[in-house]
């Protein structure tokens, strides 16, 4: 080994033959998959993903965001929606089968010590990393996150009336994610589908009501974290910019190697040196929103 060279990146991703522990199939072709993957469970941080061999005959893996982990028991949980051949085949895997996965991968969300009132915005399959992030903030202590979750298919959980008062919420917007409630994390739901207890509109509409209702000293404690469809992220970035808040977004792109080798998953971002193509897999998936959505 050559002396003095930085080798910190080495051996940070594990290849595991992960046994399927449970696989729950929900409305809207959404699925919650729990696998036994001790190394990934032990090392994963919010915002990271696993690269999954959905079926032995598919040449490419699929990246899936991690929703929950239990480091002690060694399991990792994913929430995904069937969007193509890979996820369609993955949805057929049953408990007892083994799935080859690589994980954990990617640059995670950064918790900001001077921003104790984080806003977590998750849209559709962008919900899982927000759940993981809320769990991390709860464990870290000292954070009071508020999660705004949006979906245009039935939510992948049965919403329940929230026990938390949240500033700025319109009458009747009381639906919350039970898991987050149990963790003591306030949440509200948004959809255009008119689901009971949900805000009828976009996640950014609901987030704006909350931000506007916060006293100024509390708003200064907000950092925004988002994952979801690209137009949603763009709207969230705009909202954060309007309120002068730091914002981190998690991106997705078609991906081949997931270790930074092929540059297949790049997105255009701006840097102090001008525009650059950054790899979603290892330079992301979490990026500073201003770098992604700002102008060159």
């Amino acid at each position: 080994m050559t002396a003095g060279l930085d080798r910190a990146h080495r051996e940070t991703i594990f290849v595991e033959e992960a046994e399927v522990l449970s696989h729950h199939h929900l409305e809207g072709d959404q699925h919650i998959l729990r696998v036994q993957a001790p190394e990934t469970a032990h090392h994963a941080q919010p915002g990271q993903f696993a690269h999954i061999r959905c079926h032995p005959l598919l040449p490419m893996r699929r990246p899936l965001s991690i929703m929950r982990t239990d480091a002690r028991k060694g399991w990792v949980e994913f929430l995904y929606k069937v969007v193509g051949e890979g996820t369609r085949l993955l949805a057929r895997r049953v408990p007892g089968e083994r799935i080859n996965l690589m994980g954990p991968i990617g640059r995670p969300f950064t918790l900001l010590a001077d921003r104790r009132q984080p806003l977590l915005v998750g849209g559709g399959v962008g919900i899982p990393p927000m759940v993981f992030l809320a769990d991390a903030m709860r464990r870290a202590g000292g954070y009071a996150p508020f999660a705004v979750l949006g979906s245009e298919v039935p939510f992948p959980f049965r919403a329940r009336p929230s026990a938390f008062q949240v500033p700025g919420m319109p009458e009747g917007v009381i639906g919350a994610m039970p898991l987050l409630e149990d963790w003591g994390v306030a949440s509200r739901l948004a959809s255009l589908q008119g689901y009971a207890g949900c805000f009828e509109g976009y996640v950014t509409g609901l987030a704006r009501l909350w931000l506007e209702a916060l006293p100024e000293h509390a708003r200064a404690q907000v950092a925004v974290y988002a994952c979801g469809p690209h137009p949603m992220l763009e709207a969230v970035a705009l909202l954060a910019g309007e309120f002068g808040l730091p914002c981190q977004v998690s991106l997705e792109e078609f991906m081949a190697c997931a270790v930074g080798g092929c540059a297949g998953c790049t997105v255009r971002v701006r840097t102090p040196d001008g525009p650059a193509m950054k790899r979603v897999c290892v330079d992301g998936p979490v990026f500073d929103a201003a770098a992604v959505f700002g102008t060159d």
Binding site: M1, R7, I13, P59, M60, E253, F254, A263, C265, T266
Partner: protein, 322 residues
């Protein structure tokens, strides 16, 4: 791996000591260190690593999507995203672990002069060898346009040859009429070795939007889908190389020990692994073990003894030509 097994896999490639016959292919492994992120991966499992295609000036590459899955393979059109030859030599090569394996630069460009200039920059560096990429299908100028024209292929090879004594490997395109003729011309122009083959040009279409899936509209097809094409091309180029002792890196869809052994039998001295890593990042160790097992079963002492051992069927057709 046991010491005597390691000895069976070692070979000399253009004077370079290779740990094993496996070569990690350009464009699949970034600038050399990326796969070491994976626990269990080691450079000691491979003979050489080909770095990402490098041009004289930095390039941003193509817009997304750059990759998509196709039956038994994938399309890619990265567009030679790279930080430029000077940066690679000054900032990246000093950080590479030359104690672990050999590193090969991949020279790309839009003009003959650019190829030569990139070769000149790498000549004054610790790089072990250079691969002349005259077959990149994903850039508007140069690349495959040179690779499909034997005259241009020879001119690019000759221009690079003039500025370096390091081993020069010419990467041949499958998108041409007569690959053997092209190899012959490059050999005369000073090529020390060949890499056979680069990707085949292809397209995938999103039927809802009616637009090509790949941002560049077309891309290079790789993966198991192209293996039979690659094997035939290796066989054909081997007919040109055999009597000159010029080695071939056989590549295209290698995903198992059996695939690698097929390429060796067809005439390859070394075997490239690229897209197969995306499926299994620990593939190289498995291929090495499979080759050792094959050597043992066939009573062979070294991997070099497999090269070119193809036994053609007596009553079969000719495999010559394009």
């Amino acid at each position: 791996m046991q010491a005597d097994d390691a000895d069976k896999l070692r070979l000399d490639f253009c004077g370079l000591p290779f740990n094993t016959p496996l070569v990690l292919l350009s464009g699949c492994v970034g600038f050399g260190e990326e796969y070491t992120r994976v626990t269990g991966f080691t450079h000691f499992d491979v003979g050489a690593v080909c770095l990402k295609g490098t041009t004289l000036e930095p390039r941003l590459g193509n817009p997304p999507h750059r990759v998509c899955e196709t039956p038994a393979g994938m399309l890619n059109a990265i567009g030679l995203q790279n930080p430029g030859a000077r940066y690679v030599v000054d900032e990246i090569l000093p950080r590479l672990p030359f104690a672990e394996t050999r590193f090969i630069a991949n020279l790309s460009g839009s003009t003959v002069e650019e190829y030569a200039e990139v070769a000149r920059i790498f000549d004054d560096s610790p790089i072990d060898a250079m691969e002349v990429n005259i077959s990149c299908p994903n850039v508007k100028e140069g690349g495959v346009a040179f690779g499909n024209d034997p005259d241009m292929s020879a001119r690019v090879t000759e221009a690079c040859r003039k500025v370096t004594d390091k081993p020069l490997i010419v990467k041949l395109s499958p998108n041409q009429t007569d690959i053997a003729e092209n190899a012959r011309r490059c050999l005369e122009a000073g090529a020390d070795a060949f890499a056979v083959i680069n990707t085949l040009m292809g397209m995938a279409i999103d039927i809802e939007s009616r637009a090509p899936v790949i941002g560049n509209n077309q891309g290079g097809l790789s993966g198991p889908a192209i293996k039979p094409v690659a094997l035939l091309k290796v066989h054909q180029v081997y007919q040109v190389c055999r009597d000159h002792g010029v080695p071939i890196i056989g590549q295209g869809g290698v995903a198992s020990p059996e695939d690698a052994i097929e390429f060796l039998i067809a005439g390859a001295t070394a075997v490239g692994v690229g897209t197969g890593l995306f499926y299994d990042p620990l593939l190289c160790a498995k291929i090495n073990a499979g080759i050792v097992d094959y050597l043992d079963r066939h009573g062979l002492a070294t991997v070099g003894q497999i090269t070119g051992s193809l036994v053609l069927n007596d009553e079969g057709g000719s495999c010559a030509g394009g």
